[in-house]
């Protein structure tokens, strides 16, 4: 038997498909959305630990052991790729708005654009990493290298997983399975995406902008 697809409006948020309940959640937020917020809370501590490690180590590199990150980074380049990632948050918002009003075509457009912008950012990261490596800073070269690649690498993995999720949503939408009653799903992925973006703002500030 097919599941019904009658459009349920936004009140679907907070009506839990929890076993047997079928009524409002205590907070009005759906379980899934609350779970994403809770998860993102823990992610703050994860990146907090990595940022702290970077802050501790970036200037402790002995001179004989290779370049510091601040010796070889290219702020203009990274600024552009940061801008790209910021724009992807905008397109994500547009994707959520599109699905809310039932425009499935536009939803796919914005989802794919977000994914592409994210992929561009990742490409920029990879390019930057190869430049650094050629300039003598690898993961194992020195303290700063380990801390830098550790922090940005974790972030890059998070972005990549986000891209995978966005493309999965695109695929579902292409098969007609992502109607407006599913707006919250896109919203929740959007939360994750915005978080990853905010983390990048912190990373960018800490690594590139704060003077040594």
């Amino acid at each position: 038997m097919t599941a019904t697809t009658e459009a349920a409006p936004l009140e679907s948020e907070g009506h839990e498909e929890t076993p047997g309940h079928g009524h409002l959640t205590s907070t009005g937020l759906s379980n899934e959305k609350l779970a994403m917020w809770v998860f993102l809370g823990s992610e703050c501590l994860l990146f907090g630990g990595l940022v702290s490690t970077y802050l501790l180590y970036r200037n402790r590199v002995p001179a004989s052991q290779g370049p510091k990150v601040s010796d070889i980074f290219d702020i203009p380049f990274t600024s552009v790729s940061s801008f790209v990632l910021l724009m992807s948050s905008l397109t994500m918002v547009l994707a959520v708005a599109a699905i809310r009003r039932g425009d499935e075509h536009r939803t796919r457009t914005w989802l794919v654009t977000t994914a592409l912008l994210g992929a561009t950012f990742i490409a920029g990261q990879i390019y930057e990493f190869t430049v650094f490596f050629r300039e003598g800073l690898g993961f194992t070269t020195n303290l700063g290298g380990s801390a830098f690649y550790g922090l940005t690498g974790f972030h890059g993995v998070h972005v990549s997983l986000g891209i995978v999720m966005l493309l999965s949503l695109f695929a579902l939408s292409a098969r007609g399975k992502l109607g407006p009653e599913r707006a919250e799903t896109v919203d929740i992925i959007g939360l994750y995406w915005h978080f990853v973006d905010v983390v990048w703002i912190v990373i960018f500030t800490v690594i590139y902008l704060i003077p040594i």
């Binding site: 038997m1 599941a3 076993p19 047997g20 309940h21 630990g49 180590y57 380990s146």
Partner: protein, 644 residues
């Protein structure tokens, strides 16, 4: 049979998927019968029982490790085992007790009881719940596989750098430890998300936060602590893993690294961790004391807020584990002060427990004995903890047996006594049989005496200068008699545990069923049969008061006496009904999640990834594929199938 197709699956991912989409090679399990149904269950009660059973198994292993340690230390200059082997034993004893016993069994209690206590059918994400269990199970097995694959970790449960680096720990033991904890950490984190959402979002109508049972509150605080503490140790473990496996420099002193980074990261996790270990047990005690005193918990709001305060303040005291580590006097002073003040909310709880039993009508069934012992033993441990906060004194106490005494008083005399109390208390609810009272009392007394005999003398040993983590000690140090006493005590603890295991077996053999409410309890889990039907409640409870079930049973007369209501309230569910095939059935209005094997599949991939990182990367690729396939299959499967 049409059940739910009329009702649009309202939110969540479910309507995305159609049964035809499922990619599983095997048909989705649909049975709740037989031993294989345990492998695919998503029922919070069964998952709770599995957590408890596996945890108790690891408790025995950790206990054997303790006996080996104590036997070696019974006299001076013994060499029953070498230093290297001894170091593995104390490392694994602590790692097992913390990560493979106390944390999972408290997760098991929370899993079983929280939905019942808040009037819910299950947790928010039943398959995620199953995933957590299977990850824990495979993670524990992975950790212990090191015993057969080159030796277990021998760096201590805290595994300080740089001793943990390959340069100083060249075998695979530390790698197994790092990866094993990463795996079980995922289980803890997923469980925390699940329980937090469940507690916040799925309470019965009328149950505000301040009408939740105290155990639910303490579990909630512990889960929030887990949520924020696990990522910090995750970072520390990744950094160590990168150094060991990929030659990174995070703890490489020659490259300028600071070994104290590991200590800070570990203890920022480690201190909230000890509250994770004790708060739920405090919650259990806070349920038992009122029930067996026939009085409500004294100062419920204050107990709640002191729990929250401990949760918050616990983040500000971590460096009291580092008073001798070279923090500098300002740092030491700050943490000494913060550590002193965390004694205040803890004291509030103890006084409120005393207030609960004061002028009560106390009955000394086994759960109550354990709960009272908790209060007494925890006070001793807490006070020795306050003496540690006097930082200059701690420079004499830290790294000695005085500390070993302190944390065993709070974790064994505290958490584990609370756990045993909870087991005796909720055993009838979970299994429909009551553990034998006579044997329970024997277990309790041998345990209490053995425990004090083991750990009491350790206070003296520490103050007389015996360091921790030493496989032997010289003659003529004045330590011989106390060590011998401690060893004898440890064997008594083992005897007590054997009594407990015998009790379980005896109870399993007997056929005497337990009532729904054998203790005249106060909270909702006692308002349904023992054991509960699979769907928990026939009718969703409506809550107006704290201790709602007690209010349903008793009322206050005009002259202030408390009397039973007449008629007594009916239970909120019928005992489990079964179909002709023996499958449990539930009312047609109730929508239950279906079993699934994907959680086990995903969980199985994680040890594969870890083995691959240690031995051969190809295995890791297989593991990644298994995990990805599992996640993909899971996402294409609706959380509930229609019943036919």
């Amino acid at each position: 049979m049409a059940i739910t197709e009329e009702r649009a699956l309202e939110s969540g991912i479910d309507a995305l998927v159609h049964p035809d989409d499922e990619i599983g090679v095997w048909k989705r399990p649909d049975s709740n019968r037989g031993w294989t149904s345990w492998l695919t269950t998503v029922d919070h009660k069964r998952i709770g029982i599995m957590y408890g059973a596996v945890a108790l198994f690891f408790f025995v292993i950790g206990g054997i490790e303790a006996l080996v340690i104590r036997t070696q230390l019974a006299g001076p200059e013994q060499d029953l085992i070498s230093g290297q082997v001894y170091n593995q034993f104390f490392t694994m004893h602590a790692t097992t007790m913390v990560f493979l016993f106390v944390m999972p069994i408290l997760a098991g209690f929370a899993n079983y009881m929280v939905p019942l206590m808040i009037g819910a059918r299950d947790v928010a994400f039943p398959r995620l719940n199953a995933l957590g269990f299977w990850i824990f199970f495979f993670g524990g097995l992975f950790l212990y596989s090191s015993f057969f694959l080159g030796g277990m970790a021998d760096c201590g449960w805290f595994c300080y750098a740089p001793n943990s680096l390959k340069q100083f720990s060249s075998g695979h033991g530390v790698d197994f430890w790092v990866l094993g904890l990463q795996i079980t950490g995922i289980a803890s984190l997923s469980g925390a998300i699940n329980l937090i959402v469940t507690t916040i979002n799925m309470r019965a109508p009328g149950m505000t936060m301040m009408k939740m049972p105290i155990f639910v509150w303490m579990s909630l605080v512990a889960q929030v602590l887990l949520l924020f503490a696990m990522p910090v140790i995750t970072v520390a473990l990744f950094l160590l893993m990168f150094d060991r496996l990929f030659d990174a420099n995070f703890f490489n002193v020659a490259a300028g690294a600071d070994p104290l980074l590991w200590q800070h990261l570990f203890w920022i996790f480690g201190h909230p961790e000890v509250y994770i270990l004790v708060l739920p047990a405090m919650g259990i005690v806070s349920e038992i004391l009122p029930t067996f005193s026939r009085k409500p918990l004294f100062g419920y709001p204050f107990v709640v807020f002191s729990g929250i305060a401990i949760g918050f303040m616990g983040w500000g005291v971590w460096a009291h584990h580092m008073f001798a580590s070279g923090l500098g006097p300002i740092g030491v002073s700050a943490f000494a002060a913060s550590t002193m003040f965390i004694a205040v909310p803890t004291g509030v709880k103890i006084f409120n427990w005393l207030g609960t039993i004061w002028r009560g009508n106390i009955r000394f069934d086994t759960p109550m004995l354990f709960a009272l012992a908790f209060v007494g033993m925890f006070v001793i441990g807490g006070l020795s903890g306050v003496t540690h906060s006097i930082a200059p004194a701690d420079t004499q106490q830290t790294d000695t047996y005085y500390i070993v005494a302190h944390f065993h008083y709070v974790l064994f005399g505290g958490s584990i006594m609370g756990i045993f109390g909870g087991l005796y208390y909720w055993w009838p609810k979970m299994f429909g049989r009551q553990l034998d009272e006579g044997l329970g009392k024997v277990h309790f007394w041998i345990n209490l005496i053995g425990f004090n005999l083991t750990f009491g003398p350790m206070h003296i040993l520490g103050l007389q200068g015996m360091p921790r983590r030493t496989q032997t000690y010289a003659e003529g140090m004045g330590w011989d008699v106390w060590n011998l006493m401690s060893t004898i005590g440890s064997y008594l603890i083992a005897v007590a545990l054997l009594v407990f295991i015998y009790n379980i077996w005896r109870t399993y053999k007997r056929a005497v069923p337990a009532a729904a409410d054998p203790w005249d309890g106060r909270t909702l889990e006692w308002s349904i049969p023992s054991p509960p039907p699979i769907h928990n409640f026939d009718v969703e409870p409506t809550v107006e008061h704290l201790d709602q079930w007690f209010h349903d049973k008793y009322e206050e007369t005009l002259d202030g006496k408390i009397v039973k209501r007449d008629p007594a309230p009916t239970l909120l569910a019928e005992p489990q009904q079964h179909s002709d095939e023996g499958e449990p059935i539930w009312p047609s209005s109730v929508h239950m999640p279906s079993p699934s094997y994907w959680p086990m599949v995903v969980a199985a991939g994680l040890p594969m990834i870890s083995f691959g990182l240690i031995f051969h990367l190809a295995i890791s690729f297989v593991g990644v594929t298994v995990v990805l396939a599992g996640i993909y299959g899971w996402s294409l499967e609706p959380s509930a199938e229609e019943r036919h």
